[in-house]
């Protein structure tokens, strides 16, 4: 059911039936290292090239997700997936392997919540009984596509973010589980004129503020109704900006705001301003946050995944970075 202009409230009781996460070596050493189902000690993940490595990570996250729900690939009605690479190749090849009807999606780093919102909507409307949502990102594939070769010695500024190597998968259905999917707010593309590919936090913060503010206005809730308001990858640059932007709009999220890009790494890790990438919000949400909701430590979380819709060619043509944020409300089923 539509509430306001951008927010969907699911009519049925929808659950995150199961989740699966996988992460690379640096993420494994971070504070959330133990929350991932599978971690790799090697960025190559035993594969010959970076693209194959990313595919392996996504495949592994999906296999954990299905295994936990005790489902086969043939039980799944629709597969929604995306990643950062051109033509979302990782998702396409995984879809080729698993032979589930496939909807490829791209919202840069916001794809994690985009697939979840649409997947939940398909289950809610009865077009699917089981929707599998998955995203992945890999530091080296992203680095070489969007910036420089991985071994290039050009220095990066402090505002740069570090693409998370990992993947997250979630199975949405009406089968009860401890975590419920309640609402989603679909974001508009916002571009406030930042054109620096090494400062995506500043670029994405207005998009996150726009979606979160729309969510509060349309649901009539306030920040105190949430135990956590999580942004995807605003990093240490964008996080204070989004707090200030929302404060000026009359919402104080200071006490409940967290950023996945800051949660996944410890401050002493060499990641500049923090983590980014599809897997950043997905691995944190489907790993750590889902387990916190399942155990009832927290009851209601708003996850606003932020995406910088960056294209290296267009940036060189001196245009700015369009950004989008999609938010999903997850609740603990135990609390009811």
């Amino acid at each position: 059911m539509k509430i306001g202009k951008q927010t969907w409230r699911y009519q049925n009781k929808l659950y995150l039936t199961s989740t699966g996460t996988a992460a690379g070596p640096l993420e494994a050493k971070g504070p959330l290292g133990s929350s991932f189902d599978k971690t790799y000690d090697d960025l190559h993940c035993g594969e010959d090239n970076w693209e194959l490595a990313e595919r392996t990570i996504m495949r592994e996250a999906i296999s954990f997700c299905l295994q936990k729900a005790n489902k086969q690939e043939s039980d799944i009605d629709v597969f929604l997936a995306g990643d950062l690479l051109n033509q979302t190749v990782t998702s396409n090849f995984i879809a080729k392997e698993n032979q589930i009807p496939f909807l490829g999606m791209f919202g840069a780093c916001s794809t994690s919540m985009e697939t979840l919102a649409v997947g939940a909507e398909l289950v809610d409307s009865g077009f699917a009984n089981y929707a599998l949502c998955a995203v992945s990102s890999h530091n080296a594939t992203a680095e070489r596509q969007f910036r420089y070769p991985t071994e290039y010695g050009g220095p990066k500024p402090k505002t740069a973010t570090y693409t998370v190597t990992g993947a997250g998968a979630a199975l949405v259905s009406k089968d009860p589980s401890p975590v419920m999917v309640k609402e989603a707010t679909i974001g508009k593309v916002v571009d406030w004129g930042i054109g620096d590919a090494n400062d995506m936090g500043s670029a994405m913060a207005p998009a996150a503020a726009d979606t979160i503010a729309a969510h509060f206005q349309e649901t009539g809730r306030t920040p105190t109704d949430y135990d956590m308001i999580v942004t995807g990858d605003l990093s240490s640059v964008g996080s204070p900006i989004v707090k200030q932007l929302l404060w000026e709009k009359g919402f104080n999220i200071d006490n409940v705001h967290h950023d996945c890009g800051l949660m996944i790494y410890s401050p002493d890790q060499p990641v500049f301003a923090g983590g980014s990438g599809c897997a950043c919000s997905a691995a944190v949400t489907f790993g750590y946050i889902a387990s916190q909701l399942a155990s009832g430590v927290i009851n209601r979380v708003l996850v606003a995944a932020t995406g910088a819709l960056l294209n290296p060619t267009i940036i060189q043509q001196k245009e700015t970075i369009p950004c989008v944020a999609h938010a999903v409300v997850l609740e603990s089923a135990g609390g009811q």
Partner: protein, 152 residues
Amino acid sequence: MSQLNNQKDYKKNAKSYQPKPNYVINCIKAFFVGGAICLIGQCLQVFFIHFFDFTEKTAGNPTTATLILIAALLTGFGIYDKIGQFAGAGSLVPVTGFANSITSAALEHKSEGIVLGIATNLFKLAGAVIVFGVVSAAILGVIRLFLNNLLG
């Protein structure tokens, strides 16, 4: 008080939230690493003059080649990018940075094959250096030659 919630001035107002580079520390690091690379170059040059049959004028060739070999190997071992992040321009400006830009591009595109991957992408980053070097040398060369001829 200026409002951050203002699309027109956002780029300017957001600046106060973006961490500034540490100018002094960065320059000191660049100075010492860059200086050290040049010092190694000087040692190599003296070495080639004393132990091989090179003169002051020609010793630059084996020196440059040796530095390039070292930089290419450090790139292969995955060390040069870490030096680069630490030293900034200190490892970017010496000829070793040129070697790193060639080797890193070649290495990164290895998975696409030897011809279409390594060979076509070798000058992806370093090409600009050669283009600008040749164009500026040609323009300045023509001007100087013209002036020389004019003045006899």
